[in-house]
Amino acid sequence: MSYTTFNQKTFDTLKQPMFFGETVNVARYDIQKHKIFENLIEKQLSFFWRPEEVDLANDRKDFIDLPEHEQHIFLSNLKYQTLLDSVQGRSPNVAFLPIVSLPELETWIETWSFSETIHSRSYTHIMRNVVPNPAEVFDDITRNDFITRRAVSVTKYYDELIEKCSFYTQLGEGTHTINGKVIDINLRDLKRTLYLTMVSVNVLEAIRFYVSFACSFAFAERAKMEGNAKIIKLIARDEALHLTGTQHILQIMAAGKDDPEMGEIAESCKDEVREIFLDAAEQEKEWAGYLFKDGSMIGLNQHILAQYVDYITDQRIVAIGLPPIFNAKNNPLPWINSWLNSDNVQVAPQEAEISSYLVGALDSAVDTDDFGDFDL
């Protein structure tokens, strides 16, 4: 099977599985196999926002006033979020689009990825406003050991799927010798890799992101870095939708109606799935240790964040139909709900803190010369 941008064959779209069927030809949405993806696209489009809408002038002052260990927590958390969205802004497109077979799912993947690029741009918006030299912070993402270690666990399934799929689309199934290396490509193994990749994406968006959200909101609970929290709130609203998307994909795969072989694979992968969730939880706890290495902050410390990791991991694994791991039924950070509640998301320009509404209303570039004719 080689990839073609417009499949010339005539086939019944409704009979295609989500992945590894015929490549999509006509981008049509009049008939849909899984209507949920169309709903997700519409919801995501209705959520559209731009980071520039949120004014961060106060965050700069707040940041300067933060004690050093809290600056470390804030910046490290932001670096981690930048890493996660860098991955999510491209990987669903690169990994899933060549193998997707349903037009509505194809468009959902593109819409999903696009919204992640807005998130990435908002991190630059935050950095520019908060730190004097954003480049230092961004450069550290590839240099800092703790962050790069996270990158490996986040991207390893994606990379494996992308590599195998590129061999599959070029060479098809069978045993191939590439650069002296013998590689066995078969569709069932590819589907297995796809299923596990989807699980790791779900873990990324439903657990890893939420742990980082908790840190962002913990600052805002103390009325610090509130502009940042406003942006993160918009990001969290998108992520809630994305994780619903991956949960649907995983549940549809597991049900086996879409592709019976996928159902069998999901059944046989249960232990590995549990392992992926457990590993992610452990890594998030380890990360919490790094965040709070120089001291904790009011309202949040390593211990409470670890409890939240347990709680959110259980919530997410149960949502894809597996038993809980930690039996953590109580949310140790109940205040996070009000930050994750979309009822409170207000993006109307009347909001005073929205900078685009105030363009020209104030001149922030004040030079000492401006005070030249001042007499006291």
Partner: protein, 165 residues
């Protein structure tokens, strides 16, 4: 707007203003010497203002269809709460009448439910429906199994029994 100083409130609209029981006698109250009776065929507009006498957590505007001359149906909601720390089951017997969603109703009656988006797309409030039927006021987008409901975007159609996990 203090209804008790307005003699017009003694007319047929009085019932709608029963904020705290009976309207007090105000014969001896004379902040203004005389009350001027409006010479109008129809009643003053002010008298038509309706103050919300309901529980703030259960707003007037309800997703339920108002049937003329009939009370809104009250549905019994029986909750098994398994969310305790020690795995013990708790039981709540509450009712649903005025709220916009089952989630709001449960919250107003102090039954803790996990929530996040409150719009049906995050799935945080996923709850098992053991008995009864619900009506979705908004299409639920989050994944739910056949026996599950999203309290944030549904209202009961019958008496229901639910299990929080």
């Amino acid at each position: 707007m203090n209804q008790s100083t307005n003699p017009a409130s003694n007319n047929s609209h009085q019932d709608e203003f029963r904020l705290d029981g009976l309207a007090p006698e105000h014969d001896d109250f004379s902040l203004e010497a005389e009350t001027v009776e409006a010479d109008l065929d129809h009643e003053p507009v002010q008298d038509c203002l309706i103050l919300n006498t309901e529980d703030a957590e259960q707003p007037e505007t309800s997703a339920q269809i108002d049937l003329d001359g009939m009370d809104k149906p009250i549905h019994a909601v029986s909750v098994i709460n398994n969310a305790g720390t020690n795995n013990s089951e708790q039981f709540h017997e509450v009712s649903f009448q005025n709220a916009n969603s089952l989630l709001e109703s449960l919250e107003a009656q102090d039954v803790p439910v996990h929530y996040q988006c409150r719009e049906g797309y995050c799935g945080s409030c996923r709850t098992q429906l053991l008995e009864g039927e619900v009506h979705y006021t908004e299409e639920p987008m989050a994944w739910i199994n056949d026996d599950e409901i999203l309290p944030c975007c549904c209202i009961p159609k019958t008496a229901i029994r639910i299990k929080l996990t």
